[in-house]
Amino acid sequence: MSEASSGTHPVLIEQDVVLARQLVRRLAQECGMRLIDLTKLVTAVSELARNTVVYGGGGYMDWAVVEKDLRPGVRLTFRDEGPGIPDLKLAMTDGWTSGGGLGLGLTGAKRLVDEFELETAPGEGTRVTITRWS
């Protein structure tokens, strides 16, 4: 797996969620991703970026255009230094929410991408890395 280009985008306030979506949409288009894969990826970004803002108290999105076996893709890491997730199993349950949402953001995002990795510890923030191949 090799990296073609990469960068970091702040996800601090609600408006940054929109900007993050636009950035990822552009990256996915440059990779030649099909509309359907692109929409799934952008929706996952929307969920995770909003989690970063609402639950993580703001953080950053590291993005990279990657390639594996001649297949381009987009890899994103959402990281915050918020309270972390105390019960990961509960958080990964459909319909469970600690806020006022539908409780489908985290689990939905996982189903929308090819690779999903979550690292968290109480008091040490949360790191979610997702990859979608085109």
Partner: protein, 283 residues
Amino acid sequence: MATLQAKTIQALQDNRTDLLNEWTHSLEATGATRNLKGDDVKQQTGEFLNLLADALHNSGSQNINHENWAQTRLFLEKLSHSRALIGQDSQQTASFIFALKGPVFALLQREYASDGAHLAEQLWEVSELLDGLGMHTIRTFQKSREAVIKRQQEELLELSTPVVKLWDGVLALPMIGTLDSQRTQVVMESLLQRIVDTGSEIAIIDITGVPTVDTLVAQHLLKTVTAIRLMGADCIISGVRPQIAQTIVHLGLDLQGVVTKANLADALALALKRLGVNVSKAV
């Protein structure tokens, strides 16, 4: 605090034409006058130098908050306001003042060539003064820009909520762009109000113009649908494109019980059918 000496002020007045030329040159060199008319720049630079000379002449103080500087401040406020409106950035606007520094410093150097101590002192004073005026320009520029942005946001809020009547008893709401919570609130309110006003039985929410449907958007839609039902009307969501449909499935959203259609035409056809209206070609 040391002040500008009469000699300095006199020198600024005597060399007005030279200063003006050099200033205009350095403005052009920095690219600050791009998109501006040459005549306007000439008039503005001339007016500013006059105001500066007047203010220095009348006021012993270089405190630009002093009332003798009111004219100069007003001029700069107007200038930065007009620059903000034509879309210049803060750097270009600030350059208007800062580009004057070079010519003035050069002038002082010539005037005080043999008097090092005074040169340093006067340079410092002029520098302080121009910095103050430059900062004032940037501050007002920022305010003008914020006012422009705020106005645009309000216009967008208004623009985004056109509730249209498609038929007697059928309303449609074409949603466009990002559905953040503040806008959705306005949308929901105006739709519910129109349902009451027109006594409509069916409301169609068209999401063709919404690029991303995530859980927050879905939650807003579901709440709106529920509210519409509580008022005794029915709701159809149209514009569910293939990629959106697949995404909704993967997200695990439950839209069962909500009537959805791929496009607005299908939704209207369904609405007419429910109202018992028959549409047929005239033979």
